[in-house]
């Protein structure tokens, strides 16, 4: 499957990854070669084969709905770039 610059720009936007036009061009080249390599998968007949998501076929464990962690908000916010009154600061979203 050939890759166009528009595909790279779309993926970059979905991933919220800033790319300028030069970078987008360069990644078209890199990503195309990776996808060419990956395309070998298309030749395999996988009809009726269940996808394998976990190497031991494990499923999610359930536990009792109990509080097990103490509140450490201040401790965990020490490494945040910008906080105020226990809240994370971001640029204004709602005018």
């Amino acid at each position: 499957m050939a890759l166009e610059p528009e595909d790279v720009r779309r993926a970059a936007h979905l991933a919220r990854l800033g790319l300028n036009d030069d970078e987008a061009e360069r990644y078209v080249d890199d990503l195309s070669r990776i996808l060419d390599m990956v395309d070998r998968l298309q030749a395999v007949d996988t009809q009726g084969i269940a996808p394998l998501a976990h190497p031991l076929d494990a499923t999610q464990r359930l536990r009792a709905d109990e509080v097990t962690e103490p509140n450490q908000r201040e401790h965990f916010q020490h490494c945040a770039p910008a906080v105020e009154n226990g809240l994370y600061l971001v640029p204004r979203v709602v005018e």
């Binding site: 499957m1 998968l41 031991l56």
Partner: protein
């Protein structure tokens, strides 16, 4: 002291030949003297190490020291360490001082081990040469013009250079075994779920696994017994007892059935590497093992499947780096979207961006079935290859890498770098354990023999590796780099 194994150091500490403080000071001095050139550490935690060494010595004086008390080691900078920068080799986390410890860090500290610091690595564990680190490449102590392998290249180089007797690494597609092979040390990737991933910065969560890197299989057994086990904080960790991994080390290999996957001895394998691996297999025959050829027919699909699954999981895992809660944040964002986009553009390096873009593309509407679902179906075929092979043989053997360590800067094209991992990647897709042990040299650079076993066969792998190390001395060879008068 710097050339002893962990097991030898434990004996020496117990016998009072030297204290943990003396050992720690001596290794810190070596790091100070040699690591400027090697670049194997991102952060050296000398002060904390000396405090912990004193605590271990005090515990010993009171007769309260456990078997690992006072032993120095290093942690790949992917393991969250409370109060210490945990960078994951990325500018994104250059300012991240972790508020908590990974489970393995907690367990190693509880056992009384001393962390000397955090080792260099490819950014977010994405790479096979350690050239993708924000902190610069690591050099291979056997040849300073060669890469140490990756992504746990700092851990491997530090052990090989005698800066530390052992280190923890992580392995998503070969990142313990390949650098262990390139640096001439022993490295074990356990079964998926054997070791908790809690507090280990996530790259590809269905493949990531932590494991020991050391000078011998015996040392790996000692460390695996400490870090393995069920952890309620990692929903994928397996609820299964932890055996004494040292209990079977001395078992005889008489009657052991070894399979040689014919696909691991094909085109692209360097003749000198093949010769070293075949010589190692002859050693096993002399120890009473039988050898037969087997086939893993889907081998050539492992790298394509991996480069769909791993980037897909990475694109999801790395979405957490948004400049809001921790890590890098761009200056003066105009709005929320600008904050996300510039923070991520500035914080991530080239290879990480490539994998985020591939993963986002293959997971996006219209491409999901053709890529992600297909790759997961192929993943089942790859796992089945191994399950079938282990019906007939006990372990599989082959080279850990098709070539010895390549030169720094030699692989500019990402795909040619990816193809290096041909013998290691399928193991992560199947979730089985694998170990690389030193088995000779090619053009003066170490060669690793890879041994693979069924799920949870770590005890047998360690036995098989240990018996080889009783019959050979490749694992005792040391590079000229760092010799006292060099």
């Amino acid at each position: 002291m710097h050339d002893k194994t962990l097991t030898e150091l434990a004996t020496a500490l117990a016998a009072g030949e030297f204290s943990s403080r003396e050992l720690t000071e001596s290794l810190l001095a070596r790091i100070e003297r040699l690591d400027g050139e090697l670049n194997s550490f991102i952060t050296v935690t000398a002060e904390q190490a000396l405090q912990a060494a004193d605590a271990a010595d005090a515990a010993r004086a009171k007769g309260e020291a456990g078997p690992l008390a006072g032993l120095p080691l290093a942690l790949k900078d992917i393991f969250c360490t409370r109060g210490v920068r945990t960078s994951c080799g990325s500018k994104m986390l250059d300012n991240f001082v972790s508020p908590y410890d990974a489970t393995v860090v907690e367990k190693l500290a509880a056992a009384g081990t001393i962390s000397l610091g955090k080792t260099n690595m490819d950014e977010f564990a994405m790479g096979s040469s350690n050239e993708n680190s924000h902190y610069g490449p690591v050099k291979n102590p056997w040849d300073l013009t060669a890469v140490p392998g990756g992504s746990s290249g700092g851990s491997a180089a530090a052990v090989a250079a005698g800066l530390v007797p052992a280190a923890l690494g992580t392995d998503t597609g070969g990142s313990i075994r390949q650098p262990a092979a390139f640096c001439g040390i022993t490295g074990l990737k356990p079964t998926y779920g054997r070791v908790s991933r809690y507090g280990m910065v996530a790259y590809a969560s269905s493949l990531d696994q932590a494991g020991p890197m050391a000078r011998s299989a015996e040392d790996c057994a000692l460390l695996l017994g400490t870090i393995a086990g069920h952890d309620l904080r990692d929903s994928t960790s397996v609820a299964r007892g932890v055996p004494d991994y040292r209990a079977e080390l001395e078992a005889s290999l008489s009657g052991l059935k070894i399979g040689l996957p014919k696909e691991y001895f094909g085109d692209g394998l360097a003749p000198e590497v093949e010769a070293a691996v075949r010589d190692a297999i002859k050693v096993y025959e002399s120890l009473g093992a039988s050898v037969r050829e087997v086939s893993l027919p889907h081998t050539d699909l492992a790298i394509p499947a991996y480069y769909v699954i791993a980037p897909a999981e990475a694109s999801s895992n790395l979405s957490r780096y948004d400049g809001v809660r921790f890590g890098h944040r761009c200056e003066n964002p105009a709005d929320l979207e600008d904050l996300y986009k510039r923070t991520r553009a500035e914080g991530f390096g080239d290879e990480v961006k490539r994998r985020i873009l591939i993963g986002t593309h293959t997971l996006s509407e219209g491409f999901f079935d053709a890529y992600y679902k297909k790759a997961q179906q192929v993943r089942r075929l790859i796992r089945q290859d191994f399950l079938d092979a282990f019906e007939d043989v006990d372990v599989l053997m082959g080279p850990a890498s098709p070539t010895p360590a390549f030169d720094l800067g030699a692989k500019k094209d990402p795909v040619s770098m990816y193809l290096q991992d041909i013998y290691t990647i399928a193991i992560n897709l199947a979730g089985i354990p694998g170990i690389s042990v030193p088995a000779g040299f090619a053009s003066g650079r170490p060669v690793g023999l890879q041994i693979l076993g069924p799920h949870f066969a770590e005890q047998q792998l360690l036995n098989v590796a240990h018996q080889f190390q009783q019959a050979t001395d490749w694992h005792r060879r040391q590079p000229a780099f760092g010799k006292e008068n060099a």
